[in-house]
Symmetry: C2
Subunit: 186 residues, 2 copies
């Protein structure tokens, strides 16, 4: 029997239906034909956005970061604005919405940078990374369990925080390094 | 009652004890004193390593990447060698072990780059990122459910694969961009 093009999934067992994530244990056929079980966290995906407060091609543009309380880390982490896709929501619309909710900013232009699997060993979560330019400030509208402070800094300082290990969030490091290396005219 | 310095965890409920991950639902006290529940994937942590086959300060050094089958993505992804910490294992020892198991290489020197939370909204997983230099080739020893091909390329090509969205794995993008930007003398 040919495996070409078929799904590797033989069966799936839902362990937990959660608020943010679901947990399945799937029985799958590996590329060599052997069969095994894998734990898989199902996640709807997310968008994240690097907000540029000045022209991203200028010498050392200003970016906006948030400091968000993360129970997983038991500390506030520096991050770019980000959040889960609503059902049926386009990634770019999600990026604009999260930017508005978490920072109060609207962007005249939002551009896709790249999309990453956050940790493909155990979850299908993908985060779509964007940059936003032409910002105007409005009202913030955070969720009840979001504890966020907004901070403005030059891109060079944000890169320094990555180099020194102060920025510890994976998506934030990728988004800033990608924007700095490939988009901001450096 | 002062919350200063105390754990935010009020109680924890283990939903699932897995092979790779565990799932807890914790009741926690947020920074503003309100109480809520959070789903938290517990993970022992991991190490990942960028293997340099030539002097990392040279013009365009050669790096070694793996292509690994990821069920979460239903495709082979480009990644740096990586894997979970064994109980009690130091991150740098894990980096050396995974490098040996997945590529057959021993390194004369392994240096810490940075450590990231892969996706702190729902897991405490941290990945310690390293670079390895002075490689000598030996025997590979992969786990039964690892499907891996090894590929050598110039660092400039790896960065191009990030820019074009071909490299989709978060830790791999951070490790390569970090090594290129802050360590490889670019």
């Amino acid at each position: 029997m040919s495996e070409t093009g078929g799904s590797p999934r033989i069966s799936t067992r839902r362990i937990y239906d959660g608020r943010v994530i679901d947990l399945d244990v799937d029985t799958i056929r590996f590329p060599n034909g052997t069969v095994g079980e894998l734990e898989m966290i199902r996640h709807p995906g997310a968008s994240a956005v690097v907000p540029f407060l000045s022209d991203p091609t200028s010498e050392d543009p200003q970016v906006l970061l948030i400091r968000q309380y993360r129970y997983a880390a038991e500390q506030y982490l520096y991050e770019v604005p980000a959040g889960r896709l609503d059902p049926g929501e386009e990634p770019i619309a999600c990026a604009r919405r999260e930017l508005r909710e978490e920072t109060g900013c609207e962007a005249s232009r939002v551009e896709h940078l790249t999309t990453i699997y956050t940790t493909p060993g155990f979850t299908d979560e993908r985060i779509h990374l964007f940059m936003a330019v032409g910002l105007t400030r409005g009202e913030v509208a955070r969720e009840a369990d979001e504890f966020i402070e907004v901070e403005t800094m030059p891109l060079s300082k944000a890169l320094d925080l990555i180099e020194r290990g102060v920025i510890q969030d994976g998506k934030t490091a990728v988004a800033l390094l990608y924007a700095a290396g490939f988009r901001a005219g450096r």
